[in-house]
């Protein structure tokens, strides 16, 4: 790293990320550790000898599998150091424990039972490493009565209530439109960001109180936290509050969210008084909008079908770009529904340099989503690309007194 580069916020912190050993890929730990790595912490990513699950998930160039060049691997493992350890083997766990002597945070994405079977349950780990922040990332919580159950992105989404409300405002035929998951692996990544936030909290606690602790991140509860307004409404209101019936919120809210236009879709809100007035102007103030029945939010909600039909008519002759610009000119929150091509190439993201180009030693030139937040003094950046499998075995193991010959022997035995 050159001397004139700005510092990074988390330099000096040491993080160890364990692999998810379940048959179902669970990427929360990798996302949490990436957050630390990208802001300057040293992250040692421990992988099983066959590689972390994201290496198998692609996407691959021309659909040709290559564990060193999949998009998810290249994205999730930026700035990390990679070692391999077969944690089922006691010798490999000894090596891990050696690495943990200097670690500040451990991200462990495995089920409690599996950890306990390997003498790695969180209580055992804290006895052994009292200054360590032990972060469990599990489907339901390390001490939940559901702790034995498997879960994952689909189950967490649907047990939280978020799936029940998706699609939002667009359910017209409930029996044939089952509750819907969010695209990709949102609740894995959400659990990752939740774990990153909670680990920082625990680091501050250690500064004050001197000791490490267990941080219990439940993917399910992390998703429940996303729908907290429903819970608050439910304890204050009678059972017609949002979240009980799949159709109800659409009727209540009036005209809002996703609609087709001439060349695609737009997302907007015309539910509040101010936005309704803005929309009137956007649509050229047609007379019908002044009718008595539309004067109040309740009236508009009751006649949402009429409003929607009119908006459909207007949008059918309008491009999403025009709707975006005209909406914004009247301070109406109207956005285009971008395709992925439009996300990849839009003037807003390019003006901010959001996507970054990066030369990876194996994968070659790649483009990736960049900083999730811009820090003025300690900017996010890629110092090194995702590690090759076992790339840093020798360098890391030397630190704990394992010489290169021993590392070679351990590799031959399949321990690393």
């Amino acid at each position: 790293m050159s001397e004139n580069r700005p510092p990074r916020a988390l330099e000096g912190l040491n993080i160890v990320e364990l692999p998810c050993l379940d048959s179902m890929p669970f990427l929360a730990g990798a996302m949490a550790a990436k957050s630390f790595a990208d802001f300057g912490a040293e992250v040692i990513k421990v992988e099983p000898p066959e590689g972390a699950p994201e290496r198998r998930l692609g996407p691959f160039r021309d659909a040709t599998p290559d564990p060193e060049a999949g998009g998810l691997h290249l994205f999730l493992n930026t700035n990390k150091l990679g070692v391999t350890l077969d944690l089922n083997r006691p010798r490999a766990r000894e090596i891990l424990f050696g690495l943990l002597e200097k670690a500040d945070v451990l991200f462990n994405p495995n089920l409690p039972e599996l950890n306990e079977g390997m003498e790695m349950g969180w209580r055992r780990m804290l006895e052994r490493f009292p200054r360590l922040i032990v972060v469990s990332l599990t489907p339901f919580g390390a001490d939940s009565s559901y702790r034995r159950f498997r879960g994952g992105d689909l189950v967490a989404t649907h047990m939280s209530g978020v799936g029940y409300e998706t699609p939002w405002h667009q359910v017209t035929d409930p029996p044939n439109q089952p509750p819907l998951k969010l695209a990709g692996r949102q609740s894995d990544y959400l659990a990752g960001y939740t774990a990153a936030a909670a680990a920082m909290v625990a680091l501050f606690d250690r500064k004050r109180n001197g000791a490490g602790q267990h941080v219990d991140v439940s993917q399910w509860l992390a998703m429940v936290s996303m729908i907290r307004p429903n819970l608050g409404a439910a304890t204050h209101e009678a059972p017609d509050a949002p979240g009980y019936q799949r159709m109800s919120i659409r009727r209540k809210a009036g005209a809002q969210w996703v609609y087709p236009c001439r060349d695609g879709w737009v997302s907007f809100n015309a539910g509040t008084e101010r936005f309704w007035r803005g929309w009137k102007e956007v649509m050229g103030s047609p007379e019908w909008m002044d009718a008595e029945i539309f004067a109040t939010a309740v009236g508009r909600a009751m006649h949402v079908d009429v409003i929607e039909a009119a908006i459909h008519d207007w949008l059918s002759t309008t491009t999403k770009r025009e709707a975006f610009e005209r909406g914004q000119s009247r301070h109406v929150p109207c956005f285009p529904v971008h395709t992925i091509a439009e996300v990849a190439d839009n003037s807003q993201y390019s003006a901010r340099g959001f996507f970054i180009e990066h030369e990876h030693p194996v994968a070659g030139a790649i483009k990736l989503p960049g900083a999730p937040c811009r820090f003025s003094r300690t900017p996010w950046r890629i110092v090194r690309g995702a590690p090759r499998l076992g790339e840093h075995n020798r360098a890391i193991f030397r630190r704990i007194g394992i010489d290169d010959n021993t590392t070679a022997a351990l590799a031959a035995e399949g321990i690393i």
């Binding site: 819907l180 602790q213 439910a234 019936q245």
Partner: protein
Amino acid sequence: MGRLPLDGIRVLDFGWIFAVPHATAWLGAMGADVIRVESMRAPDLVRFLTGTNGVVGPNLSGVFHSINMSRRSLALDLSNPKAQEIARRLVARSDIVTENFTVGNMSKYGLDYESLRAIKPDIIMLSGTPLGQDGPFAKTVGFGPTTQAFAGLCHLTGYPGGFPCGIGGTWPDFAVGTAMVFFILAALHHRDRTGEGQYLDLSMAEMVTTMIPEAMTDFFMNGRDGGPVGNRDPSMAPHGVFPAAGEDRWIAIAAASDAEFSALCEVLEAPSIASDRAYARLEDRLRNVEVLESEIAARTRNFDRDELVRRLREKGIAAGPVYNTHELMADEAFAESGMMVTREHGDSGERAVPGLPVKFSAIAPDYRGAPRIGQHSEEVLNELLAVTPEEIDLLRQEKVIF
């Protein structure tokens, strides 16, 4: 248990709606002194989003209470220069400033980062906006749901081959709020080590796009611009939501391996599916996923949802009931989790609202009920700026405190 991790840290919070208040609720529960600056002149919409037992009012909103615990409320009308001056004096006593106004508003009030830094050089300021502080569309007005659309998530969410869908729960507001906690604390950690503050410019859309890496890298590597795939997953089948007996009863089931698929067929009492060559290996199941799903749905319809969930879990299969809010709150493990905490909020009396989704073995969060608007105006101004009760009366008459 000793002091709370953020004891002694003060947050001056100009945030409103969802994302920033959610972030500062974390900070407050962890011991920070969060001072929420708000006013009846331009009140937080969320204070009127819902009410209590059918009555709507600024201090009765269940939704507001579920997002705004552990803070003090200072009513200041920021359009008034005197209020702006008070805010600047409070900055001098604060460590962190948070806001999510439309770009330009904080400058209008003389409260932009450059101004704050002149007052307190090591201040950390976070601005969260739909599209960030610069770029051609920086000044847009938007909410979480419009941000999903800009960022690509709507385009990918929906039924297979269908139209783009919006996501429940005003995603990504609370996801972004959670990540903000990490960013703020990372900046605070840097300040602790170096004495340097800084400015954090968060674009909600960019943050959302960091959460669809599969689609973005596929586009960059292969030019593929895929659409929605419903509840499916490219590496598992079945992976979906299936009907159970009764109306609007659904179950989510994911089988990650051949062994799990066999076990699923056994629970469903469907040996014909298990032995069908069309479903033998994962790649077969992925290729024939549509037929497979309809065959499974034909079986799941005959089961009671919760009974089927119980049987599948016993066999080690990832499965769960699809809950609405009411059912979630009735779930025994949810109740045991302690996530719902009861406090006195505003004028609503004692009510349960969700706390943090995380448990710490050595931290007992300091959950305080959400404040009435301006509940702590006098206390805060007196304590931090030595404003006397007489001066406060005057400020009220002049509608500086409002």
